[in-house]
Symmetry: none
């Protein structure tokens, strides 16, 4: 797998009454994909992956034993039923359906959090509650063993 560029940093942007959300210019380069999948997350945010995510998952299926692939396929099919595809308009915004905004409790503001191969969208209040209080390099280095 070739990694091009990673989603990093945090941004706070506004959602207009049409449900449009700007994707930060930092995540718009040639190395980034221009099509996304919006999925509800169990921790109360939205996870937004590059569209190629599904293709990769489906490829993984074919390199799996028939029995274990079957269970995975069922799970993926379940996931597919709650995924919204989204493509930015010419201003770089993606439209997030109301169903999804509701899931994340989104109002007029949203926090976008970079997570390497994808990013998350949070309601600012929720984010403040669950955000780690100043993540640092050393903290993670210890956990990961750099």
């Amino acid at each position: 797998m070739t990694m091009k560029e990673a989603y990093t940093d945090r941004f706070e942007f506004s959602l207009d009454d049409k449900g449009r959300l700007s994707v930060p210019v930092e995540w718009r380069g040639e190395a980034f994909e221009k099509r996304f999948l919006v999925m509800p997350s169990s921790d109360g945010c939205l996870r937004i992956y590059p569209a190629s995510f599904l293709g990769r998952e489906m490829e993984k299926l074919s390199s799996l034993g028939a029995t274990s692939a079957d269970a995975r396929r069922k799970s993926l099919e379940k996931l597919a039923s709650v995924i919204q595809a989204a493509e930015p308009d010419q201003q770089g915004r993606i439209m997030i359906r109301e169903k999804f905004r509701q899931h994340a409790g989104l109002g007029r503001q949203a926090v976008l959090v970079g997570r390497l191969d994808h990013f998350e969208v949070w309601d600012p209040k929720k984010w403040k509650k669950i955000a780690p209080p100043a993540t640092t390099f050393e903290e993670v280095a210890k956990e990961v063993g750099l």
Copy 2:
């Protein structure tokens, strides 16, 4: 792993009110990367790594068992959310967002400290307090056993 060139020496440069900081010409050669990751450090400075750092870490993930990769991924994702990517302008300066300047307590001056595969950015006052007093080659040679 191919080591190209190492970040060495110390420099004191100024930060303008736009948050721009010159990268020393000593660290600008062809052998150095032209894209950086700015990360907050727990000792109150900023750690600045070549951008390839993240790519290498992500590749390590894919060559790991699914279970142990999961915990590592979570940690790396946490780190990603507090990383700012930065690219020098045509004068060789990188823009450091206010969020990060605040973390390091940076004013109009900054000390840049070479750390082999990365460098650190310090507020001059903080640096004076923690700076090691005049290390010499022989001293370190004894410790390391050169």
